[in-house]
Amino acid sequence: MINSSSDNVKKLNSINRRMFITGSFKFFIMVGIVSRLFFLQVKENKKYLTLSDKNRIREWKLAPVRGEFHDYFGNVIAGNFEAYQLHVIPEQVDDFRYVIYRIKDLLELSDKEFKKVLKKKNQIKPWETLIVSDNLSWQKFSKINNHLYDLNGVKPVISISRNYPFKENFTHLIGYVSQANQNDIETTESIKKNFVPGLKVGKVGLEKTFEKELIGTNDIERYEVNAYGRRISQLEFQKGKKGKTLRLTIDTEVQKLANDLLKEKAGSICVMDIYTGAIVAMHSSPSFDPNLFVFGISQDEWQLIRNDPMKPLVNKTLQGNYSPGSTIKPIVALSALENGIINTNFTVKCTGKTEMYGQTYHCWKKKGHGYVSLRNAMKQSCDTYFYEIARKLGVDKLSATAKKFGLGEKVFGDLFEIEKKGLIPNTQWKKNALGKGWLLGETIITGIGQGYIQTTPIQLCLMTAQIANGGHKIYPYLVVGDDKKDQPIDKYMPLYENSKNIKIVKDAMFGSTNEVMGTSYRSRIDDPKYQFAGKTGTAQVKKITEEERELELKTFEIPYEQRDHALYVAFGPYKNPRYALSIIVEHGGNGSTTAAPMAKKLFKLIIDRHKIRQSMDDKRYLEI
């Protein structure tokens, strides 16, 4: 019993000692847990609070509202319209199959479109928005609205989208928008920043150039979301900024006329203010409706545009490298005068053809012009005369003058990435580019704008404008206000040695249009208010063989792609010049019969609208 009781005491001592050890152990662990709680909840609270907010708050960006394009008079030429769209959130639909087939019937979707929708549905999460149709007609939209009672989870939505009210009129100038692709996002910072699925961005033209200004900023919606990304409640809505609206120097009326004149033809018309360089119209034909691209063009329509032999996708005004033909003659004459090669009295006898360096060079007039002076040679566009002065002048001097007047250089600089430079050849160029020496015969044909020389229609327009304004350097621009910022120092600087020479050339151009025997005499306007001066051009697209020359084929007898290009450059009103233009009609035959009559109609309108245009100006034009 004693034994057992002492055993008991031992046991109790042991258990109690261990109980106390355990107790203190527990105490320390408890302190440890409390300090861990303190660390997490008090010390690091801010960090975890941020993480928790990051967890639960998610931002949704909405597509920004794109800035518009206005013409000079404030007409919207690229605007926004309310597109009727149909959205479905699959998880809110009880019976997706039923609803989607019902929609298919109501919208009369083709099997192809329907498959596309189903494909899209499989790519998104069930709570994300499925855009069944992005541009519904009002009829279909209202039809859907009338059937909403049995279309659970279907949302008719009005969304803002791009609209080009003048359709094909401004396509090459403004370009168009379309869904942003991977490349757009990677190369353009502003697109990357504002990107949302379905965002439409400028693909070509000014839409692309001014993307940064036009794009605007996103509306931002902040939602509380759960762990699966489902929206629980909206916390905030932050309104974005609409993109900047750009006002262009373009006059829609003139632009429309240019479009009408070139209907069914391939070519370009551009009109420019000779003092400011403001572009009044700039059109390339044929064009296409840019609205087709906004919601994605169909394959058929795309093939139609792409395979059109008249190449609607090419902006001929900026990308078209054409032989200038006789329209180069004012520059050749000016160069010869400036370099003192000839004076106004210099005459050449034209017999219809001339032989130089063992080659025969033909004048366009088989019988020849007889003795011609500079003024007459310009007026009648005598090729023989210009062969002779080109020979005397040499290609290097000629190219120097041509370059001074803006040929062989990009007119808009970086504004359009597609713009071509053209080519003003000289001996150095040929050596570098072709590795061959310059031939004198090449100088001779350069004198009538054939051979290596290539110019774009906008360059010809600029050249004419700079002659018309008395030989002063101008910088063409398209966006109102662009002429006022960072002006190049050589703006308005004279391009001539002697201003008299410019006057001589202008006078010769007057003769060409307004005097009997002038090549564009039939297109003249006698009213001094509208009277203009110009120079025709007919550019050969292939070498004419002797046999063909004998045949004296009429334009319509030659296959389309072998016909000459018809060109015309002009400025007006002659007495007090204000506008210059260039016209080119591809394979249009003859400059005087095809291109010059267009100038007549254009000048009528341009000069009529001059007053209205001036009244729009807040500031008088700079008079020189």
Partner: protein
């Protein structure tokens, strides 16, 4: 006078049993029950849904059960020590053959009126069994090879049956319950130190034998940012929830982490995270205090008991409960790898609550019959 007291204390009248009740412990358990119901209500998104209702029913049933247990003389519980252990071993074997599989683990057995998880019950009944085993043992025999081997077999047998389910977490907790008894029974402290050392040394080998998902948990514990959306997700989200709670919490029913379903397992193992997010540091410390009072009362009851069995049971059960709480909290606070271990009373789960309530019941019985001697 003395004689009289002896008599009455031995007879334990019904009325006296009431008087002997530990009302502080009872109050704390009821308070904990209330808090757990409120938290469960929050996990249901502020509505009385399935979990709240079910938890409420279980709590009421099991607390009544606890009261009944506490009215039964402790000597009967002593008598049931081995039998109950064997019954649960039987259930575990039954689970192995006829168990219900859920999320890759065969832990439950269908007893027609309840789906029971015997491994949870084992956490308590192993204490009962070992307490009985050591009750009559002479202090010299405690450290004999025979005793230690027998008690180790008693521990390892259910552990093995639970590991094959597979449920490593619960088997570790069973082991801890058993080891707690060995500790209080007076097994030489050297053995504990050697075992611990041996465990640490063999840790790399143990890890090599772990199942891939268990290895992943260990790796994730060491660096939760390894795979923040995969294996590390639970612990990262849990820490965010606790940390964002701050000093006073986000407020009842306003825990965004749980409400927006970022928290996994919020009803069960991660219930403390939700509580902590909504009630903050202050709330969490109060909850810890409640647990501390409960454990203190259990130990105090043990100290007041005359019988060695009751003492060893109370101390061990107190230590076990403490370890369960600590492991659960350390886990959700990112101090330990994720092992499935519920927070007693707070977590949703019938078997766990049943086991805890039985434990409380026996402790309360020990309190009520604290003068009872067991031969």
């Amino acid at each position: 006078m003395y004689q009289h007291t002896r008599l009455t204390t031995n007879r334990f009248t019904f009325f006296q049993k009431f008087r002997n009740f530990d009302y502080v412990l009872l109050f704390c358990i009821l308070l904990l029950g209330f808090i757990s119901l409120a938290t469960m209500y929050s996990t249901d998104g502020g509505e009385v849904l399935f979990h709240t209702r079910s938890h409420f029913t279980k709590f009421i049933v099991f607390i009544l059960m606890m009261l009944i247990i506490s009215f039964i003389n402790i000597k009967y519980w002593f008598a049931l020590g081995y039998l109950s252990y064997l019954v649960i071993i039987g259930l575990l074997i039954g689970t192995y053959f006829f168990g219900i599989t859920s999320s890759g683990s065969q832990r439950w057995i269908n007893l027609y009126f309840i789906n029971l998880q015997p491994s949870e019950l084992m956490k308590v009944f192993i204490i009962l069994c070992l307490a009985k085993y050591f009750h009559r043992m002479k202090i010299e025999n405690v450290n004999s090879v025979y005793t230690i081997l027998t008690s180790l077999i008693i521990i390892i047998l259910p552990m093995g049956l639970v590991i094959v389910q597979p449920d490593l977490g619960t088997s570790v907790l069973i082991a801890i319950s058993g080891i707690a008894v060995l500790w209080f029974a007076g097994v030489n402290h050297k053995y504990f130190i050697y075992t611990l050392l041996g465990f640490v040394i063999s840790l790399p080998f143990i890890i090599a034998f772990l199942k891939p998902y268990q290895k992943l948990r260990v790796l994730t514990f060491l660096n939760p940012d390894r795979d923040p959306l995969g294996a590390g997700y639970q612990i990262i989200q849990s820490k965010i929830a606790v940390g964002s709670g701050g000093l006073f919490g986000k407020g009842f029913l306003k825990g965004t982490q749980s409400y927006l379903e970022f928290l996994p397992e919020k009803h069960t193992d991660f219930i403390f995270t939700l509580f902590s997010e909504e009630f903050g540091f202050v709330g969490s410390v109060i909850l810890l205090l409640i647990y501390a009072v409960i454990i203190y009362r259990i130990v105090a009851i043990g100290a007041s008991c005359r019988s060695y069995f009751a003492k060893i049971f109370c101390y061990s059960f107190g230590a076990a409960i403490f370890v369960f709480i600590t492991i659960n909290m350390s886990m959700v606070l990112g101090l330990l790898p994720i092992v499935g271990s519920p927070l007693p009373i707070m977590s949703y789960g019938g078997s766990s609550m049943l086991a805890t309530m039985i434990g409380f019941g026996i402790v309360m019985s020990a309190r009520v019959h604290n003068q009872q001697l067991i031969a």
